[in-house]
Amino acid sequence: MILHPTTAYAELAREPARGGLFKRPLAFALLLGLVIAISTSGRPTLRLVLASAVAWSFVPALHMASVALVMLTLARARLPVGRAVDLYFMALLPWSAWLLGLAAMASFIQPEHQRQVWRIFLFTAPVLFVWGKIVTLAFFRRALGLSGRRCAAAVLLNFAIVWGSILAFFLLSGQLWPRLVGRV
């Protein structure tokens, strides 16, 4: 999936459906909880994993909403929604692996040197972003069978819902704009 997403999705789309609508989104939320617990307190306590998973569950929820919207508008009746969501969340594999690596680093680096973790985070995130989009594109193309133009529209819609919602929250709550235009 990570290295050959097009082939992987072409094969997976032919396989019978497994798992439910919420299986992978839940697993992704738990992964976020695990990553946050390990990177902040150095140990995966059940309390912190579950609390952080709940807090950050808006991320998988936004991803699910974006798939549902693509299915409704661009890829009607190509796949059952549950199966599409299941396949879509496989595209988050590069992000998931990256987050685990980051958590491992953060938990072993002294707090005084945490800046290094932020630096790695900032420099590698764009690579992950592009890589993630390539895998997502493969999902739209091979799993949903969208044409080139619809594929581009689906990627844009996906980006607008997932990243646009998060940006909109920070913009509307006045937390982002002063920092974007500021010099401090």
């Binding site: 307190s41 140990r43 491992a104 002063p178």
Partner: protein
């Protein structure tokens, strides 16, 4: 063939069990010297519902793990998370949680501590400081590198209660500008200004890495604000240099050692995270054995 998935699940489960068992929180007793209770505080902390990773109450619990006696939750231009944090902290054995805000304007960032309603960043620093004071709070210049100096005019400098002299940005940028700003502030005020150490915590494990020693009469929110307003603080910059009233520095002596878990807890936490990380990586990256 090794059942990769079963082994991975077992590793994650073992990690969660070991991690939960290692979740032992120390109880920190602040010392009393010269008639003052000396509280260790991190007065610039972000939480979820803003751009922090943890729920406000989980930040308070992590603060206890790091032997902090007080924290101020200071999300950008909002106080909701801090109010939730204070509400929760009153019902748990955690450090004091003060309601704060990082007033975020294009040309300055200002920490407001001890406020009840949001202070707008859409106004000059002087007006924002006046608003903080009108709510009974304290105003601290956040990471005042030279790029923000122009925002603080003569009135603002006279009214500011303190400045962050210890901040993680100094680990890569040096402490010179922060020290110079504090010195300017002391001169402008003509009286003690609070020397503040804060971690500007968002994520990872840096909570409390820079901290403020507050000399208070009692362990309360009002006493923390009073100490800040009167400059009764000491902070060690990243070079280990103490800032604040020399008498208070002498009273404090050396700064506290970083807290460490008992060896068995320390190793249990390492086993827990390695086990959970390996298990999660296995679930993500390895194929099922058939």
């Amino acid at each position: 063939m090794i059942p990769v998935r079963a082994v991975s699940v077992a590793l994650v489960a073992a990690g969660l069990v070991a991690g939960t068992l290692s979740d032992v929180l120390p109880i920190h007793s602040p010392p009393t010297r010269g008639g003052y209770l000396i509280l260790e505080a991190d007065l610039h902390v972000h939480s979820f519902l803003g751009d922090g990773a943890l729920w406000p109450w989980d930040v308070a619990i992590e603060a206890r793990r790091r032997a902090l006696d007080a924290i101020a939750i200071t999300n950008h231009n909002q106080v909701i998370a801090a109010q939730i944090g204070r509400f929760a902290a009153k019902r748990m054995v955690t450090p004091l949680v003060l309601v704060g805000e990082e007033i975020t304007a294009p040309d300055y960032h200002l920490i407001a501590i001890g406020i009840e309603r949001t202070v707008s960043g859409d106004q000059p620093a002087t007006a924002a400081i006046a608003d903080v004071h009108s709510q009974g709070g304290a105003a601290i210049a956040a990471h005042p590198t030279h790029r923000s100096w122009a925002a603080y005019d003569t009135t603002a400098m006279r009214e500011l209660d303190g400045a962050e002299v210890a901040h993680p940005l100094a680990y890569w940028q040096g402490s010179t500008e922060l020290r110079e700003f504090l010195a300017k502030l002391q001169r402008a005020r003509g009286r003690a200004a609070a020397a503040v150490g804060s971690s500007d915590y968002h994520a990872f494990a840096s909570l409390g890495v820079c901290r403020t020693y507050l000399f208070v009469r009692e362990r309360s929110e009002a006493a923390v604000i009073e100490a800040l307003r009167h400059g009764r603080t000491v902070a060690f910059d990243v070079g280990g240099v103490a800032h604040g009233d020399p008498e208070l520095i002498a009273l404090l002596g050396t700064r506290s050692e970083p807290t460490h878990d008992r060896p068995i807890i320390h190793w249990l936490a390492i086993v827990a995270r390695v086990s959970a990380l390996l298990g999660a990586a296995g679930l993500l990256l390895l194929r099922k054995s058939r």
